[in-house]
Symmetry: D3
Subunit: 285 residues, 6 copies
Amino acid sequence: MSPPGFSNFKFFNVTVPSQHVVHVEINRPEKMNAFYGPMWFELKAIFEQVSVDPEVRCVLLSGAGDRAFTAGLDVAEASKPDNPLTSPGAIDPSRKATILRRHILELQDVVSSLARCEKPIIALMHGYTFGLGIDLSSACDIRFCLADTKFCVKEVDIGLAADVGTLSRLPKVVGGVTSWVKEICLSARVFSAEEAKQNNFVSRVISGGKAELLKEGLSFAQYIAGKSPVAVQGTKAILDAAWGRTVEDNLNYTAVWNAGMLQSTDVQRAMLSGLRKKTPTFEKL
Amino acid sequence: MSPPGFSNFKFFNVTVPSQHVVHVEINRPEKMNAFYGPMWFELKAIFEQVSVDPEVRCVLLSGAGDRAFTAGLDVAEASKPDNPLTSPGAIDPSRKATILRRHILELQDVVSSLARCEKPIIALMHGYTFGLGIDLSSACDIRFCLADTKFCVKEVDIGLAADVGTLSRLPKVVGGVTSWVKEICLSARVFSAEEAKQNNFVSRVISGGKAELLKEGLSFAQYIAGKSPVAVQGTKAILDAAWGRTVEDNLNYTAVWNAGMLQSTDVQRAMLSGLRKKTPTFEKL
Amino acid sequence: MSPPGFSNFKFFNVTVPSQHVVHVEINRPEKMNAFYGPMWFELKAIFEQVSVDPEVRCVLLSGAGDRAFTAGLDVAEASKPDNPLTSPGAIDPSRKATILRRHILELQDVVSSLARCEKPIIALMHGYTFGLGIDLSSACDIRFCLADTKFCVKEVDIGLAADVGTLSRLPKVVGGVTSWVKEICLSARVFSAEEAKQNNFVSRVISGGKAELLKEGLSFAQYIAGKSPVAVQGTKAILDAAWGRTVEDNLNYTAVWNAGMLQSTDVQRAMLSGLRKKTPTFEKL
Amino acid sequence: MSPPGFSNFKFFNVTVPSQHVVHVEINRPEKMNAFYGPMWFELKAIFEQVSVDPEVRCVLLSGAGDRAFTAGLDVAEASKPDNPLTSPGAIDPSRKATILRRHILELQDVVSSLARCEKPIIALMHGYTFGLGIDLSSACDIRFCLADTKFCVKEVDIGLAADVGTLSRLPKVVGGVTSWVKEICLSARVFSAEEAKQNNFVSRVISGGKAELLKEGLSFAQYIAGKSPVAVQGTKAILDAAWGRTVEDNLNYTAVWNAGMLQSTDVQRAMLSGLRKKTPTFEKL
Amino acid sequence: MSPPGFSNFKFFNVTVPSQHVVHVEINRPEKMNAFYGPMWFELKAIFEQVSVDPEVRCVLLSGAGDRAFTAGLDVAEASKPDNPLTSPGAIDPSRKATILRRHILELQDVVSSLARCEKPIIALMHGYTFGLGIDLSSACDIRFCLADTKFCVKEVDIGLAADVGTLSRLPKVVGGVTSWVKEICLSARVFSAEEAKQNNFVSRVISGGKAELLKEGLSFAQYIAGKSPVAVQGTKAILDAAWGRTVEDNLNYTAVWNAGMLQSTDVQRAMLSGLRKKTPTFEKL
Amino acid sequence: MSPPGFSNFKFFNVTVPSQHVVHVEINRPEKMNAFYGPMWFELKAIFEQVSVDPEVRCVLLSGAGDRAFTAGLDVAEASKPDNPLTSPGAIDPSRKATILRRHILELQDVVSSLARCEKPIIALMHGYTFGLGIDLSSACDIRFCLADTKFCVKEVDIGLAADVGTLSRLPKVVGGVTSWVKEICLSARVFSAEEAKQNNFVSRVISGGKAELLKEGLSFAQYIAGKSPVAVQGTKAILDAAWGRTVEDNLNYTAVWNAGMLQSTDVQRAMLSGLRKKTPTFEKL
C-alpha cells in the first residue's frame, strides 16, 4: 500500500519506511526491472511529487527482486514498430530527426526529474545495473551498491551513444572524463562494484544481500533526514550548480541562495541543540 | 618574531622557516583555532601581502597546538547578538537578506584571498579540521594531513548550506560532484584521513605527529621554492582557470599567458642548468 | 611498410595490426622519442588522416624502443638559435610575445589534432613519459601503462608553465584540480605507474614488458573496433563536450547529435544481433 | 470556434486564420487582458501543443479588445490571500523563500514555453503592454506594435525585480544591457512605440489600428509559413542558442544540427523551385 | 562640504543634492579631470561606501568645470619614471609582465567598484570624455550627455589596447561587438553625442549646458530614488548578470534572488499605494 | 599583379593600395562573385597569410564588378552530384550526417579564417550581398556599404538554416537576437542599406558608387594602419573575446594580454609623439 498522499503506481512501490524517508522501488522484477513506455511517466510523476512534498527529506531508489536494479531499456519493447527509435517508414531524415530529438528530450526530462528533485536521493543498486540504470543512478545524489552488482553503460552495444543522461552526468559524478570513463563508455564492457568504488561512481560497496543494502541505505537516509532540511536541500542545490560553472559564479550563487536561507529558524535550533547536546527538530520543508 | 616585512599579527604566527618559504600558523589553540571576527581580517591581510612579496615562493598553512587545524567557526562567538547571522530584530526579510548577502560575500572574499594568492599554499592538517577548515584548505593548492585528522563539512549541523567556499571548491579539488562529496556534505559526518586520501582531498597522509607533518610540508615547500617562480606561479594560475571553462578557452589563455612569460630569463637558466646538471638560481618574483 | 592509404612518415611507424585498428608508433628511439620541429607536422598529418579514414575505428599510440614513450621536447634542439623560444635578439617584448603566442598556438594545434580525432585513441605508455608525453597522452581517450613507466610534468624544470595542453587537459582527464595534480605540476617530480593509476590518469597498469602492453592495447582496440562506429564516435564526441559546460547544455547537445545518428542502420543491426546472439557487422564510418 | 485539434480555452481564442498559421489571442479584454492563476496554465498548454503540431508553421500572439495587449499581472487577484506572493502568516523566512522560488520557477516555465516553442511567434502589441506583456513578448521571436502602444517594465512599481523573464530576455532581444534598458527597468517609466523601435525592441511600428496590425502580422506569418519549416525552425533554434555562448560553441552546434537537417528533402525542393522560379511546397514538420 | 557620513575627499566633491541621491563630482578641472595615482583610490573608497550606505538610492557621476567629464589618464603623470607602465630598467620581461598584470588588475578593480556598487549610477557627461571617461561611464548603469560631448576610446593612440574596462564593458552596454564599436576602438577617432545616442551608448542627449544636464540627471535620480530600493537594486543585479550567461542560468538566478527579496514589505507597500494612488515610502536599504 | 609575398590567386585580386593596407577583391564578377569549391581554399590561404604578414596592418574585402559583393553560394555548382549537400545515393543517414558535419565544419573554418585574422578587416559591400556575403562580412570587423546594397540572409530560401557562420555571428555583430535579426533570418527577405545601418550591421552607408566606397574604405584603413599595430591587434583580440563570456573573465583576459603587450616600444613612441604633436612610426608586427 502506498503511503497517504501518494497515488498507487503500477510499476513502482512507493513506501515510507521511516519518518521523512520515502522508498521508491522499481517494480517489474519479472523483466529485471527493464523500462518501457508507461513506466517513464510514472517515474517522473513520483519524483515531481516527492520533490515538493514537505514530509519528505530523503529518498531511496532501488529495484525489486533479486536480479537487477534495472537491466535498462526493454529492448524487446523498444523494437516494436510504434517506437520512434526503430519505426520503419521512409520519411524524410530531417523530419525523423525532429521526431527523434523531441523523443530524446522527453526521456531526458524524466531522468532529469530525479536530478531536479529538491530532496537527496540515494540509489541502492544490486545485480544488473545496465544502460538506463546508469542514467538513473547518475542523476541521484548518493550511490551505494552490493558487491555483486554488475554495471554496464550498455548503449554502444545497441548502436547508439547513450542519450538520456549518462554521458552528460557520469563525468560530473565520477570527476572528469577519465580514462576509465572512456573505457567503459566506448566499449560497453561490464564493470564490477569494486571498480565502481575505485572510480568514485559509488561511495559504498555493501557486504551481504539486498537486506543489508536496504538497511544501510535506510540508516543513512534517516541520518540525513534528521538534519535541517533547509541546510540539506540548499547543499544539494549549490553542489549541483558547481559543475560546468566557475568557482566565482558558484560563490556568488551561494551568497544569493543563503541570503534568504540563513534567516531560517533551523540555524538557531541547530546551534542551540548543538550547544545543549540535544537533537533538534525542524519544521517541514 | 615575525620576519622582516611582516607585521605582527595577533592570531597568526608568520615565520620564514627557510628561504622563500613562509609558514602561516593559525594561533588560537585554546579554542582549537576556531575563527571569529577579527581573525578573518588578519588572515586576508597576510595572504594579500604574501601574494606579492617577491621573497616568497611557497606558503605553509597549519594550526597551532595539538588538537586542531581549525575547529571551524567559533559558534559561541557567532551566536552573540552583534553577528548578522543570528542577530534578532524583526526587520524586513529582504533587508536582512541584503545584510546577510553582503556579510557572506565579505567572508568568502577572505577565503578567496588564499585562492587568489599567486604563490602555492600547502595546507598541513591535523586533528579537528571542521567547517571553515575545509573551506580554507580547499582554497589551498596542496593538502597533506596526519593520519589522525578528523574532517567534517560541518555546516549542515548548524542549519545552513556551507557558504564561504566549500561547496564551490570541493567539487573542483576532489574532482566532480561525487557520491562521496554528497555523502559528506549532506550528512556532516566526520571522515578520516584515509577517506580523504582515497577521495583525492589530500594527496599525502603522513605518519607520525605534527613534527613529521611540518617536516614533510617544509621539505616539499623547499622543493617547489627551488624551481623557477615564473614557471610555478604560471602553472598555478593556468590550472586554477581550468575549472568551469572549456579546454579550448584554457588553451588560448595558456598561450596568451605564456606569450609574456616565456621571455623569462628563467627558461635559459633552467635549460642551461639542466644540461650542466647544476642547480639554477632565479630572480625574485 | 605503411598500410595502403598512409604515406610513409619519417618519424612515425603507422601500421594496421588488425582490421579497423591503426597503430601509430613514435619512432625516434635513439633520442628516447623526443620531439623536435619536423615531427610535429607529421604527427598532425597522421591524426588528421586517421580521423576521417573510414577504415579506422580505433588507434593505438606508443613509443618505439625500450626506454621511453617519449622523453618530451628535445631540449637540445629547442635550445638552437632558430627556435622562437630561445632565439636571442633584442626585439621588442610585445613583438616577441606575438611570435611566441603564434608558435604556442601552432604546437597546441598539433596536440589538439589527437583530441579532435573522431576515432578513439589508446595511449600505451612505458619508460620515460615526460613533458610532451603527458600533453599527448592527455589528449588521448584511454591510457594504459607498464608498471615501470616514469611520468613527469617536466615543464617547470625548464622554466615554464606547460603550454601545449597538459595544464588544460589534465584536470579534465583525472577529474578536477586535485592536490595531486598541483603536486606533480608545481614540482615536476616524477610519479609512478601506481600513482598514475590511483589518481585516475591511467585506467590500467599492465604487468610484464612492452609485448604485454601492446597485446592488451591491441586486444582492447579490437574490442572497441567491433562495436558500432556510429555509437563509439558519438560517445567520444559527447563525453568530450561535457567538460567546462553544464549538464543541461550537454543533454541538449546529446539530443541534437542523436537526432541524426539514431537513424543509423547500426541500431537495427546491433539490436537484432543482440537478440540473435550474433556478432553484428557495421558499415564503414 | 477553435480549429480542429485545439481544445477550447477559456481565456484565449485560438484560431487558424490561414494555412499553417495559428493566432493566439489573449481574451480577457474586460480586465485589459491582465493575467491571473488559471490563465497561466492555459497559455502553457497552448504553446506546448502548437510547438509540435505539424500543421503549424508560424504563430501570432495578440490581445483582445481595444485597450491592451496585456496590462500584466492582475494585481487585485495577486493581492488575494491565497497568492504565495502576498500570503500573510508568520512562517519561517527560509520556508517562505522555498515556496516563492518554486512559484517563480513555475511561472517562468509558462513564459519559457513560448521561448521553447519550435515554431516562430510574432507578438502583435497595442495599447497597454505592461509587466507580463514585456515578459511574454520578449519570449517571442518577432515583435510588431501599433504607434499608440504604451510599454512598461512595471515590476519595480510593485516592489519587485521582474521575475518571470524580462530581466533575462530583454538584454538578449534588444542587444546588451544598454543605458536605455537600465533606464526603463530601474524606473518603470512608460515608453512609446517609437522608443521601442529605436531601441530594437520591436522591428516594426505599424500605422493605423488593430486591423492593420493584425493584417501586417498575418501577412508576415504567411510569408514565413511559405518557407521550408526545417529551415525556419532550425534557424530559430540556432539563433536562440547564440546568447550567452561563444561563437565557437554556436558554430559547432550549427554543424551538429545541420548534419541531420541538411538531409531534408526541403533542400532539393527549395533549390529546384528556385531555379524554376516556382513556389515550393514542403512536407509537414 | 561633504554630507554627514562622507569623509572629505581631495579630488572628488561628494554631495547630497536631494534625499537618497548622492552626487560624485570629479574635481580636478584645471587638468580637465584627468586621473593620476591618488585619485584612483579615492574613487574606489567613495563607491565602496556609497554601495552599502542605506541612505543612498541613486548616484550621479559628473566632472567639474566646463571642459571635460574627464580627459582620461593624465599622460604627463603616467610618463613619470615611477609608473609601472613606462618605468625604464632592463628587468626580465616575465617579471615586468607580472608587475604590469598586478597593476592593471588593481586599476580594473577601481573601475569595477562602480559596476559592483549596489545602487544605480547615472553618468552625466559633457566636453572631453576620453579614455578612462569611457571606462568609467561604461561601468555606470545609465549614461546621459550634453550635445557637445566629445567621446574617444583613446587608448590606441597611446599604443595600447584599452585595459581597465572599456573593451570588456562596451560590447555589454551598447549591445554586441558591432561595426561601430570596432570602428571607434580600433581607430581612436572622436565620436559625437549624436553618434553615441544612435549607437546606444547614451540614452539621452540633453540640450543646453551643464546646468540642464545636472538638472535632468537629478530629476531622473529622484524618480528612481522614489521607487522600492529592494526592487531597484535587485533589478540592477539581475540585469548585470545577463551578459555572458545563458537565459536559463539568469532565470534561475532571478528565482533564487527573488526567493528572499519578494518577502519584502516593499511589495505590500507598493501594491497598496498603487491601488490607493498614493506615493509609497520604503525603509532604508 | 599581386604584391611581393603574395601568390597569384585565381579568384581573388590581392593588391597593396597603400602602405600596410591589403585589398582582397573577390573576382568572379561574371557570376556575381558567387562561391564554389576551389574559391573557398584560396580565401582561407589568403587570410592565413595576411594574418601573420608583418607588413599588413589593415585589410579591405570587396567584390569585383558592378553588381555584387557576392551573390553567395553558387547554387548551380552546389547542385552538382559531387557536392555532399545534394549528392544522391541511399547511404545510411548517420553516415551521411557524419559527412555533412565534416563538410560544414570545413566551410565554417574558411569563414572563421577571417574572424581569426589578427589584422582588422573592413568589408566594403555593394549590390547583391546575399547568403555567404552575410557570413563573410559578419566575420569581418567593420562593415561599410553603398546605398544601393541589397542584403539577404538567403539560406532559408534554399531549405536550410544558415550553416557557415551567419547565425552564430550576426547576434554578436548587431547586438543580440533582436526582432529584426529574427525577421530577416526566418524570412530570407531582402533588406536595404538603410535598414542595415539602423540595425547596426553596417556602420556607414556611403553615397555614390564603388569608387567612393573604395575610397572611404581605403581612407579609414590608412587611418588605422597609422596606429600602433600592437594596440590595434590587441584591441581586436580582446573585443572579439567579449561575446559569450562574462565581463569578469574578459577583464582578466585583458590583464594577461596586456602584461606582455604593454612592454611594447609602441607605448613610449605613441606617448612621446602625442606630447610632441608628431606622427609616430611603429615597428612591423
